[in-house]
Amino acid sequence: MDGKNSMNDQDVKLLERSFKRYYLSHLTEIPVPTDIAKREFGYKKFTGGMIRHMNVQDEKAMRLLLVENSPADVYCSNSYYLFPNMDMKKKDWQGADLIFDIDAKDLHLDCRYSHTCRVCGECKNVYKESSKCPQCNSIKHISSSWPCKNCINAAKKQVVKLVDILENDLGICADLIEIYFSGNEGFHVHVGKTEYNMLEPRARVALGDYIRFYNVMPETYGVRRSKIDRKKFPTEDDPGWHGRVAKKFFGKNAPRSTSNTEYVKIAEKLKNAQYTMGACIDMQVTGDIHRIFRMPGSLNSKSGLAKILCTDLAKFDPYQDACFIDCDLVKISAQCPIRFSLGGRTYGPYIKETKVEVERFAAVYMMCKGTAHAISS
């Protein structure tokens, strides 16, 4: 949810101030992207509009950008260019890190409905259990999701699958793989400089299809319409997808017959396995070499949480570990039908518009999701 559409001047002021305070107090902790001078930078303001095709020469210039502009979001390309500040055609592409985006919203989890609300596009009323706004009957709305622990854990599982494939199948050294919490609903996985950096978009898409276990053929595993080729059957000791498929579908369950029905059955099983065995990555991100991607250490304007490196994924709790906005109290008017936990405290639900005084990080969180507004003190 992009709450900026419903923001008034006071909201913008409060958010800009809160973000700026974060950047000022954490400036030295924000990691500097490698080869910073070769990357394209961009940022968004709370008032709207995207500024991109910028180059940032060094750490100092990056800090200046963060403090001077009070950005809502900061982006940095995964590509390296000779002239990052030129038009796309003139930039002179030099390669791009592999990047992967795993988002809980793409996992279609059952819990999602329970923590999603709607912000009316007309009257800004916030509602949950209705197809149209109970206040003005408008069907125009923006969905606002408040990912729960289940969402984060499911996204973590996808990260584990992805990292396993990157290391064992694609031979990428663990030291080059960095896992970041995206600052909202999922994780970003960055792979530093490897042999894969020169891959063109179509090849990146093919790599993504491999990771997703998408478009697999039964023939790969010795199952044809006309015959079964037992020599091609995978074994559990095989590396890559062969070994994974053997563990799941072969062994005792190995197909024996050669009928078309058997073939179709196996093809269906393999097709469905992309959802259970493959890692659910956003292909738009992986295949795009001209994207500017959320910069590590920056705040996400959809939540106010930071995109932060996860050194211990299993223990990582975004609502504790990525919450860096100050905890002084601010007054807001909240209409937030979802109860949520942040920074060790629980907030809401605020079914009707309620004036409350909450910690700044919680106020920012609700405002970023379009369910609260600033009140002048």
Binding site: N168, D169, L170, G171, I172, E195, Y196, M198, L199, E200, R202, A203, A206, L207, D209, Y210, F213, Y214, N215, V216, M217, E219, T220, D238, P239, G240, W241, H242
Partner: protein
């Protein structure tokens, strides 16, 4: 620069520089063009070009250990390059390069066997030097780095070439010898074409005039065989034609789509058949038989129609653009609404 022995030069003559090789063995271009004893090289070169033009692959002379024959083999290639350069017909150069790439593919397929090790090492070095692909045997299986595989395999349209349908481990893709060289065919062909294009223009000799004129006539024959179709083709059809022009394998579904499309647009079997000449498994009789069947001239008499866009999509042969909006079959492409 990779240094090869005479046997390898005969197998992979495109690695050599034509003029310096001929000079090194003591033959001048002038002599080649005038000495009746050397006429045999021109005849062999012409045979090599004609075979390529007809979609065939030049068969190596038997008994390759014979030094004289190896020289014949190499010279016939190099003289062919000189003649092609002099005639300047791009159609012939393309066909020749593709046929020679297929010949090299066959030889590489043999040399990439794990034994004898020296042959494998040479084939590996050749591929490494010319195309920057690092081939290795790992636990008795041939493998290439994933990134090298991907950059080439994305141009193939059969699902079996999708990385997900390959054995992959620790950054390497495992392939058979045949698959490994197939992966490189387009590059070998491009390499040969580039080599011919960048070669210094030889001086015309009196003995070259007749064969060069003959080659120009041969090329004209191909020009007249070109299928001329009025109106713009839809992108799926354009793409299928491009694949065939590159000498790559167009899957059965693609061939069916292309043939039925053109037949339904009013082309005759004879007009369409030459399109398939570049297909790696081209067989004139089979092609004509199949086209006649599709056109309804033979078989059950049913004239097949072009598959729907949906069917083409499911076969991964759809490359729709904005002009395809609202059409259900490629045959409706370009119709005014």
């Amino acid at each position: 620069m990779l240094k090869l022995g005479p046997v390898e030069i005969a197998k992979y003559p495109f690695v050599e520089d034509a003029s310096s090789y001929i000079r090194d063995i003591g033959i001048t271009l002038e002599k080649l063009g005038t000495d009746p004893d050397l006429q045999i090289f021109i005849d062999m070169a012409m045979k090599r070009i004609r075979t390529a033009a007809d979609g065939g692959v030049y068969e190596s002379l038997p008994d390759m250990l014979d030094k004289r024959r190896m020289m014949f083999e190499t010279l016939s290639f190099l003289v062919a390059v000189i003649l092609l350069k002099l005639c300047g017909m791009q159609t012939l150069i393309r066909r020749f390069a593709l046929a020679e790439a297929r010949r090299a593919e066959k030889n590489l397929g043999v040399d990439l066997r794990i034994h004898p090790a020296d042959k494998f090492e040479l084939a590996k070095r050749l591929i490494g030097d010319l195309f920057s692909v690092n081939i290795e045997y790992i636990n008795g299986d041939l493998s290439v780095p994933v990134q090298d595989y991907l950059t080439r395999a994305i141009n193939f349209h059969e699902r079996e070439w999708n990385l997900v349908n390959r054995r992959v481990s620790k950054g390497r893709v495992y392939l058979t010898r045949h698959e490994t060289v197939r992966l490189l065919r387009t590059e070998i062909s491009s390499y040969i074409q580039a080599k011919i294009r960048s070669a210094k223009m030889p001086t015309m000799q009196s003995g070259f005039e007749k064969p060069v004129t003959e080659l120009i006539d041969l090329a004209k024959r191909f020009a007249s065989e070109t299928v001329i179709v009025s109106g713009e083709h839809p992108p799926c059809i354009k793409h299928a034609i491009e694949i065939l022009e590159r000498g790559e394998n167009l899957p059965h579904s693609g061939r069916f789509m292309l043939a039925t499309f053109l037949l339904n647009r009013g082309q005759s079997v004879e007009q369409i058949a030459p399109l398939f000449k570049n297909a790696p498994d081209y067989n004139e009789r089979t092609t004509m038989y199949q086209l006649r069947n599709l056109s309804g001239e033979s078989g059950g008499g049913t004239k097949y129609t072009c598959p729907s866009c949906e069917k083409i999509k499911s076969n991964d042969m759809c490359f729709a653009n904005e002009k395809c909006d609202g059409i259900f079959t490629p045959l409706h492409f370009g119709r005014k609404k």
